[in-house]
Amino acid sequence: MSGMIGLFVGLSELVNRYNSFKKIFVNIYSWIYLLINFLAAVLAYYIIKKYKLNLGSISEHEIGFILISGLGAMAFLRSSFFSFKSSSGQIISIGPAALLTIFLRAAESEFDRIMANNDINNVSILMKDINFASASKDLPLIILASMRVLNNEEQKSLSDDILKLVNDTTATTEAKSIALGVILTKSTGYALLKTAVDSLREIYQTKTKVNLEKLSTFQNKLNAL
C-alpha cells in the first residue's frame, strides 16, 4: 500500500507534465521513474517497521505506517540538502531530488522524441493540401470552440505560437502547415485535430472554395462593365 502511494504520486507528476496517460507507458524512463517512487515508499515502510521507529500514536494503526512511509518517502525524494549557483547562473540542488530529476529529464527527452516522431508522421499526412492562410485562424477557432479546458493564458500562448508561424516569411507554407498541426496536437491530441481538420477541409471545399470561385467570376463581370 505504501508503494502504491509512491506510484500514485509519481504518476500524477508524469501526467501533469505530459498531459497524456497513454504515452507515459511506452516510455522506459517513465517506468524507471515510477519504480524509484514505488521502491522508495516500500523501503521507507520497511525501515520504519524493521527499526520500530517511534511515530507516536500514529504507530497504533497500520494505515498510519503506510501514510507516513509513503508520503515521507515522496517528500524525502523531492528534497535537497543544499543548492548552489553555477558560473552560468543555474541553481543546482544537491540531494535526492537531483537523482529524481535525472530520470524525470530522461523521461521527458524520450517522451519528446516519441511524441515528435508520432506527431510529424501523423500530422504531415493530415495537413496535406490544407490552406495555411485560412487554417492558421480557422483551425484553432474550431478546436477552441469545442474545448473547455484552455484558459486565457493558454489561449494567448497558443495564439503567440501560431503567430510566429504566420508572420514568418522564411519557411514554406507546407512546413508551416505541419508545424501548425504539431502545435495544435499538443493541446488537442491527434483525434480531435483530425476531426477539426476534416471539418475545415469540408468547409473549405463546400463553402470557401465555392465562394472564391464566385468572387473570381464576379470580378470578370465587374471588369467588363
Binding site: 490552406n131 492562410a133 485560412s134 485562424k137 480557422d138 484553432p140 477557432l141 474550431i142 477552441l144 470552440a145 469545442s146 474545448m147 473547455r148 484552455l150 486565457n152 489561449q155 494567448k156 497558443l158 495564439s159 503567440d160 501560431i162 503567430l163 504566420v166 508572420n167 468547409i203 463553402k207 470557401t208 465562394n211 472564391l212 464566385k214 468572387l215 473570381s216 464576379f218 470580378q219 463581370k221 465587374l222 471588369n223 462593365l225
Partner: protein, 141 residues
C-alpha cells in the same frame, strides 16, 4: 473587436461559447502581420479612388466614403478590423457606385470593389470572404 462583432462567420460555433476563444482571436488579429499588412495595402490602393468619389459626389456616397476615411484614421483598430468595417460600409452602396452615371465615380467604385475582393481572396479570411460575397450579391450584375 470581439469575434461576435465581426458579422456572419460561417461557423455556428462562433456566436456561442465565445469566451473559449476571445483571447485567442483578439491576440491573433492584433499580432497577425500578414493579415494586417495585406489589409493596410488595401487602404493604400483605394486612397485615390476614394478621394475621387468624395470630390465628385455630394450626397450619400460622399458621406459613406468620408466615413471610410474616418475608420482608416482610427488608431485603436487594426487594419484588419478597419477592412471589415469598410466592407460593411460598402455593402449597401455598391450598387449605386457601379451603376453611377458619373464615369469617374463608376470607375473608382469598381477599382475599390476590386481591391476589396482581391484582399478577401488573398487572405482567404472567412469574414472578409463573407463580406466580399455580400458585396457581389448587392451589385446586381
Amino acid at each position: 473587436m470581439k469575434s461576435d462583432d465581426m458579422g456572419s462567420s460561417g461557423y455556428s460555433g462562433y456566436s456561442s461559447n465565445s469566451g473559449r476563444y476571445d483571447v485567442f482571436l483578439d491576440n491573433f488579429n492584433k499580432g497577425n502581420n500578414y493579415l494586417n499588412g495585406l489589409t493596410a495595402s488595401f487602404f493604400d490602393q483605394i486612397k485615390v479612388d476614394k478621394d475621387n468619389i468624395i470630390k465628385k459626389d455630394e450626397g450619400l456616397l460622399r458621406d459613406r466614403f468620408n466615413q471610410i476615411s474616418e475608420v482608416e484614421k482610427d488608431i485603436n483598430k487594426t487594419n484588419y478590423q478597419k477592412a471589415l468595417i469598410t466592407g460593411n460600409i460598402l455593402v449597401p452602396i455598391v450598387s449605386e457606385v457601379i451603376h453611377a452615371n458619373d464615369l469617374v465615380i463608376k470607375k473608382s467604385g469598381i477599382n475599390i470593389i476590386n481591391s476589396f475582393l482581391n484582399i478577401a481572396k488573398a487572405t482567404e479570411d472567412q469574414q472578409l470572404i463573407d463580406l466580399a460575397v455580400r458585396i457581389s450579391g448587392e451589385t446586381q450584375i
